[in-house]
Structures are given as C-alpha cells and as structure tokens.
Subunit: 493 residues, 2 copies
Amino acid sequence: MQLKVKASNWSAGLPVVMLNKKTANKIGIHAKERIFLRTIKKNPREISAILDIVQKGLKENEINISLEVKKILKVRAGNKVEVNFSHPPKSLEFIKEKLNNKVLSEEKIKKIILDIVENRLSEAEIALFISAVYKNAMNLKEKISLIKAILSSGRTFSLKNKYVVDKHSIGGIPGNRTTPLVVAIRAAAGLIMPKSSSRAITSAAGTADVIETIAKVEFPMNKVKKIVQKTGACMVWGGALGMVPADSKIISVEKQLKIDSEALLLSSIMSKKLAVGSKYIIIDIPYGKNAKVSKQKALKLKRKFEELGKYFKLKLKVVLTEGHEPIGNGIGPVLELRDILDILDSDKQGPKDLEKKSLFLAGEIFELTKKARKGKGYDFAKKILDSGKAFDKFKEIIKAQEGKVIDLKVSKHKKVIYSSKKGIIKEINNKKVNSLARVAGCPIDKYSGIYLHQHVGDKINKESKLITLYAESKSRLNEAFKAYNEKDMFSIR
Amino acid sequence: MQLKVKASNWSAGLPVVMLNKKTANKIGIHAKERIFLRTIKKNPREISAILDIVQKGLKENEINISLEVKKILKVRAGNKVEVNFSHPPKSLEFIKEKLNNKVLSEEKIKKIILDIVENRLSEAEIALFISAVYKNAMNLKEKISLIKAILSSGRTFSLKNKYVVDKHSIGGIPGNRTTPLVVAIRAAAGLIMPKSSSRAITSAAGTADVIETIAKVEFPMNKVKKIVQKTGACMVWGGALGMVPADSKIISVEKQLKIDSEALLLSSIMSKKLAVGSKYIIIDIPYGKNAKVSKQKALKLKRKFEELGKYFKLKLKVVLTEGHEPIGNGIGPVLELRDILDILDSDKQGPKDLEKKSLFLAGEIFELTKKARKGKGYDFAKKILDSGKAFDKFKEIIKAQEGKVIDLKVSKHKKVIYSSKKGIIKEINNKKVNSLARVAGCPIDKYSGIYLHQHVGDKINKESKLITLYAESKSRLNEAFKAYNEKDMFSIR
C-alpha cells in the first residue's frame, strides 16, 4: 500500500511510524508490531519501524514518521512510501539459537549486530539477545566475533601514532575520578590519549559529567581528532561520537533491564578502545565487598581481558584494585572536579588516596610503553605531577575543549552530619553513597553531592564530622538528609 | 517538575509521553527511559510511561500524553501533572531472580503480573520475563501462582450453571476447525459453552477469523453473557473481552519474539478457561512430525495440564491426536467455514476427517459430564449432528452474534495444481501449507486460501489434482503459485 508522508519532527529514540486505525487494519497490523517501509525510487531506501496507531489527525492515505525513519528514508512531507507488513529478521532466529545455548558463528553474530544498528530488531528482541548472552556465556571466538561486528558496524579513527594509550575502570566506586588525572599526566609525558568517557548511569557522576562542569564534552569526530592532534589527548563524551552505535543501543536496553553480561561488558569496553586505535591499555578492576565484583570474579574477568588483548595484539594490562570504599572526598560533578584540581595544583592539598591511585595507573602505562623502567612508573608519574606539567596539560586540554579551569563553588545549601558514636570506620557502603548523592541532585544538579570527611580506618569521636551534604534547594537538602542513615552508610566499630 | 498536558489523541499500544528536548534534559531523562507522572489532586493518580522526545510542537512547560496515559490519569488538556524520573519497578528484581533460576513466591509472581497489567514494565522487561521463564521452567507451585495472578488481575464471569464446558487445541494444524462443530453439538445437547477463540497469529485462520466471515465476534462482556444465556454458547474473539489482560500483553511480546514457554502456554490456556468458569474441559494436543510438539513432549504436556486441572478442581481430560497433516479440506477463513457448513448440513457431504475429530472431541465431553456412558460419547454426538439439531443450534448462535448462515463464495482468482507423478501421499507439511495460505492472502483476504484435494494415504496419478489456490487478485495468485513447491509440501512415494 502506498501512503503519503506527513511532516514530522518527533523523535522516539527508535524508528516509529503512526497510522490511522483503519489503514493499520487494512494492512492487518496491530500497534507495536513491525512495519516495513520502502521509498518509491529507482534505488529505494528501506526500513522496518514499529507502529503506533492514532485515532485522529491522520487521513487514511497518510503516514506520520519519526525523525529516525525520516533520516534513513530521506523523505519529506508529501513524498510517497510503500508500506507493508514486515517479517521478523533472520537474526531473531540466531538470538534464539544462543538462548538455546548454541555457539554462534561469526556470520550470525555479525547479522545480529547489523540488525541492531539498522533498527531491524525491536527493544524486546534486543532484550532477548541480552538475556541469551547473560544465561549462556559466549566463548572466546564468539566474543572476538562480537567485538569485530560492533567495530565494523561503526566508525573508527586512526591517529597514526605509536603511543596511543588508554585506561578503563569497570566502575562502581564513588569518587574514583582518576581519568582526568591519568590523562593529564600521560599526555604531559608525550603519550596520546583520546579518552572517551560515559555519563553517570546509576552513579553520582561520570567523567563526562565532571569535565562538562568546566568544558564542552560533545564534539563531532573531526573536531575530537583536532583536539587530540593539538594537545595529545581529549576527555569527551563517547555517546556523541557514534563510533560504536551497536554498543550504544545494547547499553540503552541493558540500562532498562539493569543486567550486565560478561560478554557484553568485555565487548563494549574492547570495541571502544579498538575504535580509537589504542595500543597500550590499562584496565582497572576494583573488587571487594562493595564493588561491582568479588576478587574471584575480578581474577576471572582479568583473564578474559588478557585473552582478548592477546588476540587483538594489544599491550593490555589488567590491574586489580581495592574497591571497598569511595576514593577521593568529593562525590558529585563539581565536588569531584575540586578534588582533581587540588591534586593537580601543587599549591594545594588534594585527597591522597585519589592521587596515589592516579599515579599508579599512569605509572603502569609508562612501564607498558617503556617510558619508564619496570618499577619506576609511579615515580615517573609523580615527578610529572609535582613539576606542574600535568596541570599545564590539563588546562591546555580544557581550553581546546572550549572551557576554562576555574574554581567552581558548590551548592550553597549544605548540612554537616556528625558521627553518633566513637570508634573506627570499618566500612563505607559504595552503593548507599551513590544513591544518597543522587537524592541530593547528582548528576543533574552538578553543584550538589557529598563531601566525605572520613575514610575506612579513620578514628572518630562522637560528634566527628562524617559527611557534608550539598543540594541546590532546601527541599532537596531535606530529602537527602531524610534519606541518610548512618548505619546503612558507615560501619563503625 | 509540573507540566501542562497538551491535548492528545494518539495511541502507542502502551503508555508513552512526549517532551521537548530541553524539558527532558532538565529532568535528566533520555528517550525510551521511564518517566513517572502524578496528578495534582487530593487522591493523585499515578503512572509510569516511556518517554519520546520531540524537537518541535511542544513548549518547555508542556507534555503530550498517549491515550493509554490519559485513560489512567484521567486528565485533559490544560491540566497539570507532576513529572519525575522513574525508578524501575521492584518486579524487575524478581524477573532477574527467575533468570538466575530461583523459585518465585506467589507474592513476587503477583507483583510481576500486576506491573505488566499496569504498564510499569516495558516491552524489553516483559521480554526478559518471557526469556527467564523459557530458560528456567516454573514448578507446579509457580505455575499455580501465575494462573492465580493472571486471573486476579483481570475479570471473570460466572454463569451459575453446573455444566460449563470448554475445549482447547494447542494448534499448529491447518484446517482443524473443530471448535464451531464442537460448540454446536455440545450446546445442542444442553451443555453451556462460552467459547472465546483467537485470531490467526502465524496460521491461515483462527476460529474468530472463520466465524467473523458470517457474524460479529467482538462484543462487550455483558453482551457475551446475554448471548450465552440465550443460546447456551458463543464463539467470540477473546481479545475483545479483556478478561485476562496480563495474558494478552505477554502474548503480544511473545508474538514479537516468537518463543513459546511451557509455563506461559499452560497459564495462558488455564487462566482463560477459569475466567469463564469452565468446569469440564477437553484439551486436544496434536502431535507428530509436522505438529507443534512430538509425542514425547505431548505426553509431558498432558501431565502438566492434568496436575493443574487437579489443583483447580476441574474435570479436565487431555487427548493426544495425530497432527501429521491438515484436517479438513479448506485452509483459509471462508474455505474452512464451507467445510463446517457441509458437515452440519445433512444434505451435504463434508470432509470426513474433520467430522470424525469433532465428534470425538464432543463425545469426550459428553462422557466427562456423564451425558453419555463411557464409550458412547461419539455415537451420542453423531446422533445430534445427524438429527440436524447441531445445525439449528449453530444458526441460533450465529444469529445471536448478529450474523446469518449463508453460503459464501470463495475468491474468483483460482489455480488448480496437479501432481507431477504417480504414487501414494506419505506426508503433508503443515507449516508449508500455512505459509502458502498466507502468501495467498490469509487471514486478511478472507475469501482466499487453499483447497486440499488429497490427504495422507491417498493414491494419486500423474495429473491428479493436488490443491486449488484461491486469491483476491491476479498478482496474489501468481505470488502464491510461485511460492508453491510440490516437494516442500507433499512427500509422494
């Protein structure tokens, strides 16, 4: 059936079209089913979309299309499109094979990824893929195929430099904002580090949120390349680059489902590193009671990363770090930035735990690239930090990202919370810290968050300061104060 | 944040709202994420919806809501609603427990079903539930909880009659339109049979599609009750009744994913029977090479049905029937109706296989309800059919459903296909028959389909008639002819 396109300027996040109920009945398709569209041209463009049904506003010979559809079909109001019932893509069969614990060939995995990128699989079908891979682990060959498929369905960039380095932390630890420090120190030593980071999903801030408080983080690919060519590094938001679109789509459904599978975690990280041409990579896996993984699982994950690193001919080192408490004092975009600036600025005193971890991660790459001898990486990094060169490099990168290093003020509404008893802090619950910071307004209210006055091992008295809460409004502050529970967050003995 | 509702009259099949991009950013929510809405009233109404983002047409203080949202919030244009980031429902945790092979409590299953009905779970999340139950079988207790939860989230109706009977076939066999015959025969004997049927999903026709060729099949609940009170039976489309909304939503996602799980199959059938208060039930499981299940799986399924029947205090009998070829001659809504009328009308000669199977299924219920003695049910049913009482009852039901029994013509475009060799028909592939009928236009083109001239065991010569194809247009007919392949459909030796 041929229908006329009605002007449209709405985005649904995925390809959606609207039809009058009568038209839908004629085609024999129900709301939420898949519909096939093809342009009336010599070289027709095609797409499968999801159907919404409207009761008014559309004539029987009209179709309303979302921006996602418009972009792919390259049609405008008044153009005609051929509309038909759409059969499920072949890749749905392959997903079911995986669900039934079969091993998938490179070809089949490639088809699944292609169909995800080209919107032929619905969110429910992507959810089935995620769940299939969650229940039935992928073997090494499948994971390699998955990474290759994700890479080949997106864009890569090559910097033609021997020393393209990267780091990645699997996350879960509040604070722990080592990336900006590691980037500045490594780039100050002449290494190339095109770092793309994420925004907060369930945490108080992602590196992109932190850098965004003083600079831009969303740039088109060619601009990112220029920033890296000029300064040796960048700190941008990966989502804006569109390098690995398959990964972004899978992640958006994973976010809904809140499940992580090993194969998808590994392929997500590896494909991003390979897309920017990284050769030397440090992977940081924080483990422990309040971290994402136990020590046992961290060791297992380490081996999987190493297998993949070997296959893709990378110099990849996995380090296991303790993740039993937050790192640094500030939790929240601006609060974390202040910790970083205090460390970079040799006139100031930043949190020692964050400084040490950053020097360690920077040092590891110096040893991996042979910029420093075995065992001397940490000292090499420390020298660069103390010299002020890392701070200069940081300012240079921020400037290239159209920003300026300034000392930002945090939210004016604040409340100090004191200890109710004497003792030693045995534990700080990472998840509770994250969720409290979110109640206070993070990551949207970038000036809000938590300042931690104590770390594990600290001796405290009754009435010692434990944390300070910051929020943008009185009501947010009260809500956060209500949500705070000493016993949930600290164990003091 | 408070936003003003903009008039809306679009349906998305599930609760969806639209926001301006800036407003979405302010709340910190992305397209396709879940958003929470609450009315500004003393007794506020709440709903979680999925967010779409539009670039034009909405101001920053406005929100556009789908009809599904409007219905639940009971708001209209100009009203204000409170809008907020929404956390995933607790039931998502329970789904993940099942995915990790845990046994779910009655409470948890109830919460999952409630959240499905009240649109708190997205399609991706429902897909995860389906996949969890597919991978990890539910035990008897879980299945009972699931059936109870589906029932209690919907509406039931009670007919206060001792002899409410039903039948169900798990499907997969083309033709096999026993239901209208069984309904007419049983009701003519004074049994009550409030039959709700489905429309075709992957087959050429469902019972609702067949009856719809001569009567209405969509009625509100109270009207259905009246039809049953008047005639002792009905043949309506179950989807219109909204009795088990949880089941309908699960099925709509299962249709996308094309996976069947045992627990969901059992609960879907059992909850529908219980919702109309059936006490005596015959379940027909066709098995065999071209059926949905093997004999072994059919026997396993039989036991599961019997366990559930026992728990719910039903007189339930499961019969295994051979499903290795189509039953009856017509495949397609009108073609199947003609077979039925030929059997009901004692002046005509209908297909014997369909007649026998219908008499068998009717007879089984006569024995179960003790209307006939053990072993005498078939003869009892045959007597009613031969007497013309079943035909009278059929006409009475069709009339009550605002229809009329008339002899419909099939499509005028037809093509007879002859055998290319001599031999005996050893096999007819059910799936190929279904898919060919769909190419010919079924179920949308109700006059189209296939007429089978031969069945398994028939001796044929070169140039014997095998099938006749019927289609509404020359082009459809050609397409079907092109799709036909003798070797795929028949094995002749």
